[in-house]
């Protein structure tokens, strides 16, 4: 009789613990998904701004054709998706391209003075900042999630229950990517 009660209690406690651990993993995974959609929103916003910027600069510096093509391609690659690491690589390329475009624009005082261009520039700078912020959050929750599913005892059942590792939003090989949680 006593033995039966003990066994039942142990089973119930184990079941509760497992349920709690499972919910914990689900919560962490949801956080990574929310973090990813944060990045996605900002990437889309930047992609919407870029054609206008390119048009504005084209009017003054039509000879920079190579740069325009590069930006257009990077923009398409960001839009095309293909996983966090690939998107991050494309996004970094796009950031660099936009930076060069602003450098080109420096040579045309009339362009810089135009209200439309100034507006675009400040919107884009703001969006770049927001992408950086969203990236920091996403990478930190991915790191928490990845280490949660890899530590004992979660590693015994996380794979069976469909918890897969997530890629960092970073251009390097995702295994070695260092999330930006340290102070700079």
């Amino acid at each position: 009789m006593v033995v039966v009660i003990v066994v039942i209690v142990v089973i119930v406690v184990l079941a509760i613990l497992l349920a709690l651990a499972f919910n914990h993993l689900v919560r962490l995974r949801n956080e990574t998904e929310a973090g990813w959609s944060n990045i996605d929103v900002q990437l889309k916003r930047r992609n919407d701004l870029i054609p206008n910027l390119v048009e504005a600069v084209k009017g003054y510096a039509s000879h920079e054709r190579g740069l325009f093509d590069e930006i257009t391609q990077a923009r398409a690659a960001v839009q095309g998706g293909g996983g966090p690491a690939a998107t991050a690589a494309a996004s970094d390329q796009l950031t660099a391209g936009v930076g060069r475009l602003f450098a080109v624009a420096e040579n045309y005082p009339q362009l810089r003075a135009s209200e439309n261009f100034q507006e675009l520039q400040s919107e884009l700078t703001d969006t770049e900042d927001k992408i950086a912020a969203a990236r920091r959050y996403y990478n930190s929750v991915v790191q928490t999630y990845n280490s949660a599913i890899q530590s004992f005892p979660a590693l015994l059942y996380a794979g069976l229950l469909g918890f897969r590792r997530r890629e960092f939003f970073a251009a390097q090989d995702s295994d070695r990517a260092v999330p930006q949680v340290s102070t700079t």
């Binding site: 956080e31 929310a34 973090g35 944060n38 900002q42 703001d126 900042d129 927001k130 950086a132 912020a133 969203a134 920091r136 959050y137 930190s140 929750v141 930006q180 949680v181 340290s182 102070t183 700079t184």
Partner: protein, 315 residues
């Protein structure tokens, strides 16, 4: 100690302190039982729980009217608004909190609200005037960490618990003086009575002490969390030093909101409060907070007045 370890450590301490709270309440209940017997203990306990529920559900929405904060839009304060927006994204908050401003020359800031969806951060006009972009970022990241850690709710809960303990002890002591105690049966009963009375007098004092200790722990936690959100522990440390050097105190703060500010508004301890060595302060000394940030960020602030060596443009 890394940021995460620091956060975990502080979290543990808070849980521990809440545990002490539970023990304290159990102790008061025990004292009541010893003095009056079962009936009175149950009656007071039920009354206490009812009162706790009442103040818990009635406590929301009071803060704004007390502090006199007014909302601002993105057009009014584009720089401040952008800082809040970007750091909210970095903190992973579900929405950007409302931004509010208090007209006060003393630099200070606080966050308030029921939960992370329904909250606001507030800074004083003095803060905007004295601090640069990077320092404001530090301050805002500290406030958003409070939001992220659900501190406002926790501190409201703690305040309610303190109130309950004070109320029960008070009622019990009054009942003692005005009769109603069950008849004593011998010397053993007198000892229980003496212990009970001491307990009832000491419990409210201990409760306030614990409340302040939890509040101080939450400040360290918010500093560490803020540094993680902004990725710039040094910026927050610089902001704290500026607060330390500024002699002005924010006007018009009541004790009920003191724990919300980034810098304790009632920090000029004097008289009996100073003698207790800060036991009843809501905030730890700023020197200690800066030192903690230096430890987790792995940097040392240069002596005052000199430019910061690693001053990167805060993004």
């Amino acid at each position: 100690m890394t940021l995460r370890e620091q956060i975990r450590h502080n979290y543990l301490m808070t849980v521990l302190l809440l545990g002490f709270f539970g023990l304290l309440i159990a102790g008061v209940a025990g004292a009541l039982y010893g003095i009056y017997g079962q009936g009175a203990a149950i009656a007071v306990a039920v009354g206490g729980i009812a009162w706790a529920a009442f103040s818990w559900f009635g406590s929301t929405g009071v803060v704004s009217s007390v502090t006199g904060a007014r909302p601002v839009t993105k057009q009014d304060q584009p720089e401040l608004y952008r800082i809040v927006e970007n750091l909210s994204i970095a903190a992973g908050l579900p929405a950007t909190p409302e931004v509010r401003i208090v007209d006060d020359p003393a630099p200070n800031a606080f966050a308030a609200g029921r939960n992370s969806k329904n909250c606001y951060v507030c800074v004083t006009t003095g803060l905007l005037q004295t601090m640069d972009h990077r320092e404001i970022e530090g301050v805002i990241s500290h406030e958003l960490a409070h939001v992220q850690h659900r501190d406002v709710r926790l501190m409201t809960l703690v305040a309610v618990l303190v109130g309950v303990i004070a109320l029960i002890s008070d009622i019990a002591l009054r009942m003692l003086f005005f009769g109603g105690r069950r008849r004593s049966n011998g010397p053993g009963d007198l000892v229980i009575l003496a212990i009970g009375i001491c307990g009832l007098i000491l419990a409210p004092i201990a409760a306030v002490g614990i409340q302040m200790a939890i509040s101080r722990k939450r400040e360290y936690l918010a500093d560490a969390g803020g540094a993680e959100i902004s990725g710039d522990a040094e910026g927050l440390a610089l902001a704290l030093r500026k607060l330390m050097e500024d002699p002005r105190e924010i006007r018009d703060t009541s004790k009920s909101t003191a724990h919300l500010y980034i810098e304790g508004p009632l920090r000029k301890a004097s008289g009996p409060r100073a003698l207790l060595g800060g036991m009843f302060d809501t905030h730890p000394p700023l020197e200690d907070r800066i030192a903690a940030l230096e430890r987790i960020g792995g940097f040392t602030l240069p002596p005052d007045g000199e430019p910061v060596a690693t001053a990167e443009s805060a993004s």
